[in-house]
């Protein structure tokens, strides 16, 4: 059933990203916006846009009822949830379908199954997907937790059943620590997630975070589009993602891909999804969790596989059959995504607010920008600090790194501080360049490396150009009125002279 009009239940770069593909497909797009977002790009990029409430997400972008009513009133036949907000909310997905709209994503049952961390473990284990050794059900007490922990060996992680995305985790290095850790983990989980149940997993030392992109249709076909290396993260917030991973070869890719396809089949998956794995130092990989939505980092897969994943999501929601041949799906070149977040990486990652005064994004060969930045944009604390992404594609990893460095050098973003200086420092780091990273790399880098130390820039000490600019600026301000007049006169003089010359 062809989709003709889609409500994009999101904001920011992902809403704009989805609207772009809808426009290319000739499908009308309907944006929703909060009071803070009337001027945002997703409102201006869509064919239609409707207000759904005040700035706070709980009163707008998380109001599934209001969004569904808006979509129905606007005559939509489908809803695209983007990522974040309601994208992995099973009740929302169910309500969308009950309202007679297609949900561009998996069924509510699949979302619920993948969202319950313990249930997901059990399902995956049964399907033959390797899971991290540990509990098969919540541990009722310290004793049962200890039995498991002793069996699999320390260190272990105590995880909240209701957690996810790295939240609600406590590491236990030896048996003696287990009792107090269990008590605290359980009470924290109760407070944070309203569910005190915890379970035990083997804690992997310095693992890599590698995830596999899957795509499934409603005709029982499941495909994978290789891996993304997402180990460069801080407090489970990814900062730099790439495809392929520097440590995954064709054999491992095929093995992890096959496991991901098994995972997708096990939960009767539909649309685009991601199976996250931890890859340990010995080369073993374990199921971590399944994300039942489009990921922030999906563009690196798109660049290496020449595919538009949002387009495929829509086609699957239309009930079309995917006609890929798995063996033909091979990555070409190398892609890296850098997330731009409005955070001060040199000041404890404090979120930054302000007005974007000027912006010029990188252009040229091999550069893709997914952003919703515009001059005059207000960056507030209401929403996620990620304000855009710079994604590059190159012949190989070295080329892609050089291209990303070039692109970040070229970017001009005035008015708001971002993590760009940290990104540039990481790209210069030897360990990163060697691909020698794990999920703890970035926190160690930020803490242990003097990455803000100023190098020589363009042959001069780094402060000198800033000093000269400040002194010349101060000098010009002093003589501002007469200097401006003189400058204008001089410009006008050569313009007149040159114009007379030209028109001869």
């Amino acid at each position: 059933m062809p989709i003709r009009k889609v409500c994009v239940a999101n904001r920011g770069e992902i809403a704009v990203r989805v609207i772009r593909t809808l426009r290319e497909m000739g499908i009308r797009s309907v944006a929703v916006f909060s009071d803070a977002d009337r001027r945002e790009l997703h409102v201006r990029a869509a064919d239609e846009a409707y207000r759904i409430g005040p700035a706070a997400p709980g009163e707008s972008y998380l109001r599934g009822d209001v969004i569904i009513a808006t979509a129905v009133a606007a005559g939509c036949d489908a809803v695209h949830p983007g990522y974040g907000f309601l994208s992995e909310n099973a009740a929302f997905a169910g309500a969308v379908e009950e309202a007679g709209l297609a949900f561009i994503g998996p069924t509510a049952a699949t979302i619920a199954q993948a969202g319950d961390k313990i249930q997901a473990r059990v399902v995956m284990k049964a399907a033959g997907v390797p899971v991290i050794p540990g509990s098969d059900s919540p541990e009722p007490d310290v004793a049962s937790a200890k039995t498991i922990a002793d069996a699999i060996g320390y260190p272990v992680a105590l995880k909240a059943v209701g957690g996810g995305g790295g939240k609600g985790i406590r590491i236990v290095h030896e048996a003696a620590e287990l009792k107090s850790a269990f008590t605290r983990a359980s009470s924290e989980a109760e407070t944070a997630f309203g569910n005190g149940a915890v379970y035990v997993e083997k804690f992997l030392v310095r693992p890599r975070h590698i995830e596999i992109q899957v795509l499934s249709d409603t005709h029982g076909h499941h495909f994978h589009f290789g891996e993304r290396e997402c180990s460069i993260q801080r407090r489970h917030q990814k900062l730099l993602e790439e495809a392929p991973s520097p440590t995954v070869d064709a054999t491992l890719r095929a093995a992890m891909g096959a496991a991901a396809v098994k995972a997708a089949r096990a939960v009767n998956y539909r649309g685009a999804g991601t199976v996250e794995f931890l890859l340990d130092q010995s080369g073993e990989f374990y199921f971590l969790e399944m994300n039942t939505r489009i990921q922030v980092e999906h563009p690196v897969t798109e660049l290496c596989y020449g595919i538009d994943l949002v387009r495929q999501q829509v086609r699957v929601a239309e009930g079309r059959e995917l006609k890929f041949v798995q063996d033909d799906l091979q990555p070409v070149g190398h892609a890296i995504e850098a997330r731009l977040t409005a955070e001060d990486p040199g000041g404890g990652f404090l979120p930054q607010t302000g007005t974007v005064r000027a912006v010029r994004m990188p252009e040229g060969p091999g550069v893709r920008i997914d952003s919703n930045l515009y001059p005059g944009q207000e960056i507030t604390l209401f929403y996620d600090p990620m304000i855009g992404k710079v994604i590059v594609h190159g012949r190989d990893r070295e080329h892609a790194i050089a291209r990303l460095e070039r692109a970040l050098t070229e970017m001009r973003l005035v008015g708001i501080m971002t993590c760009a200086p940290l990104l540039r420092a990481v790209l210069k780091d030897d360990a990163y360049r060697r691909g020698d990273v794990d999920t703890g790399y970035l926190e160690r880098f930020v803490e242990e490396v003097d990455w803000q130390a100023l190098p020589e820039v363009n042959d001069l000490p780094a402060e000198l150009p800033a000093v000269l600019t400040a002194v010349l600026y101060a000098h010009q301000q002093k003589g501002a009125s007469k200097a401006v007049v003189a400058d204008r006169a001089a410009r006008s003089e050569w313009l007149t002279a040159a114009r007379a010359e030209m028109m001869r």
Partner: protein, 173 residues
């Protein structure tokens, strides 16, 4: 014409001169040919130093001139020779270099004050906890010093840029 520019702890003496329409600045015995042009709609300044090309966004406030460019963020205080001489006299007479203001980088609620008036702190030491978006953020000292004034109380709501406390640098050795 002489200017004094201070970046962090370093001070640069800059002597400006003009020759045949071109501007030169001498710093540390090296003479640079410089040209600065403003692109207002891009909020940007382009600088050529002996042909080397740099670009900065510039923002001036009461604390000095903040420049951001490829190499990072710089805060520069510029004084002309007269102001510099006047201030040097005040300093020599034992006047304080002036306390450093610690301001709120974001709106939030002061959850906890970790220091009090008179406390001697080291670089990186947490001063207070500021909460926003349900996240607790430690505000740390940007260098060693003594807390000379605390402007806020625990539980107070602050706006961006609001004064939190003041730190005085230890006397230079």
């Amino acid at each position: 014409m002489k200017y004094y520019a201070k970046v962090g702890a370093r001070e640069f003496e800059c002597t400006m001169s003009e020759d045949d329409g071109a501007l030169f600045v001498e710093v540390d015995q090296t003479r640079y040919r410089v040209d600065l042009a403003h692109i207002e709609a891009s909020a940007s300044y382009t600088l050529l130093v002996d042909g080397r090309s740099y670009e900065f966004a510039l923002h001036e406030d009461e604390d000095g001139i903040e420049l951001s460019g490829g190499a990072g963020l710089f805060r520069v205080c510029v004084e002309d020779a007269r102001t510099h001489a006047a201030r040097a006299m005040v300093s020599a007479a034992g006047g304080p270099a002036g306390p450093r203001l610690v301001k709120a980088a974001m709106p939030g609620i002061v959850r906890e004050l970790l220091v009090e008036d008179g406390a001697v702190v080291t670089k990186g030491q947490p001063l207070l906890i500021l909460e926003a978006m349900k996240m607790q953020n430690e505000i740390r000292a940007d260098g060693p010093g003594t807390v000379t004034r605390v402007h806020v109380k625990a539980g107070a709501t602050v706006v961006k840029g609001e004064k939190l406390l003041e730190l005085e640098s230890p006397p230079s050795p």
